[in-house]
């Protein structure tokens, strides 16, 4: 398949633009993670997540639901939470809820697609983030 120079450079420009839009928030989060690690020992984070599968995934889903931004940021935060001793179930629920539940986008979605639909979809997405987290870690345990 032949690709024109124009198409290639257009794709590069689009990709660079997408990264450029996310860069300030991503760098902000990375440097914020450093601050959190400097001032909050991992014990504080471990105390919030009690290693109960369903409660941890519920907490992870709540945290992910209220956050907004590029999913890249969720992977960075999730990875660092994992290093701090938070369970994989909670981290999975966090990153899944981050991308599937849209509390911040809800007004726009409700206006365009209907309030009842948006409410139902977001509620199910929240519940599903818990199920997906539990199922994923269960499968990993078996593999």
């Amino acid at each position: 398949m032949e690709i024109s120079h124009f198409a290639f450079f257009s794709a590069v420009r689009k990709s660079l633009n997408a990264l450029w839009r996310s860069a300030p928030l991503l760098f902000g989060i990375i440097f914020l993670v450093g601050l959190v690690q400097a001032f909050f020992p991992s014990q504080v984070v471990s105390d919030i997540f009690h290693r109960n599968v369903f409660l941890d995934s519920f907490l992870g889903s709540v945290m992910g639901s209220i956050m907004v931004g590029n999913p890249i940021t969720s992977y960075v935060i999730g990875g660092e939470l994992l290093d701090q001793g938070v369970s994989l179930t909670a981290v999975t629920a966090f990153i899944v809820a981050w991308v599937s539940v849209g509390i911040v986008q809800f007004p726009a979605e409700a206006t365009m697609l209907g309030r009842n639909f948006s409410l139902l979809r977001n509620s199910l997405s929240f519940l599903f983030s818990i199920f997906v987290a539990v199922l994923t870690t269960a499968f990993l345990w078996f593999l």
Binding site: G28, I30, L113, R121
Partner: protein, 165 residues
Amino acid sequence: MKSDQHFMGARFLGGVILIYTIIACVQFSSFAFALHKSLSLLVKILPAMGGVFVLMIFTNLFVGSNTVARYVGKTSGAKRWMVAITAGFISTGPIYLWYALLKDLMQKGTSRGVVASFLYARAIKPFLFPLMISYFGWVYTVVLTVVMIVASFVQGFLIEKLTEQ
């Protein structure tokens, strides 16, 4: 809206830099520790971000997600779920850019369940796999992707049944 996102991110980054400046003046050792941790994290994710960039170019070059999304409205039967989930999987850009197209599809008869499947499948970002693999491993990435594809279908099916008139 795109420049708003960059501007908001820049304000957030500015706030973090301000906090670092204050900490550097008050407690230099903590500042140095925090900076060291942050720079280590940055170095850790840079190779994966390179992979993300390459995949983004590939997606932008070869995959017409807008065209695929329109195809969602033209299929029926069991195939429409597969098309909706695939379209969501390969779609890029902020979600609010897709609302107008989805509204149009719904008005033309596409079921709410299929639209819900598309929206849920958007949670799967193939071009971010390099970063996910570097953090969580490829086995986790594969398992999570498969579970989320199934969840997209189940959620869409449930919403279709619940919103049937």
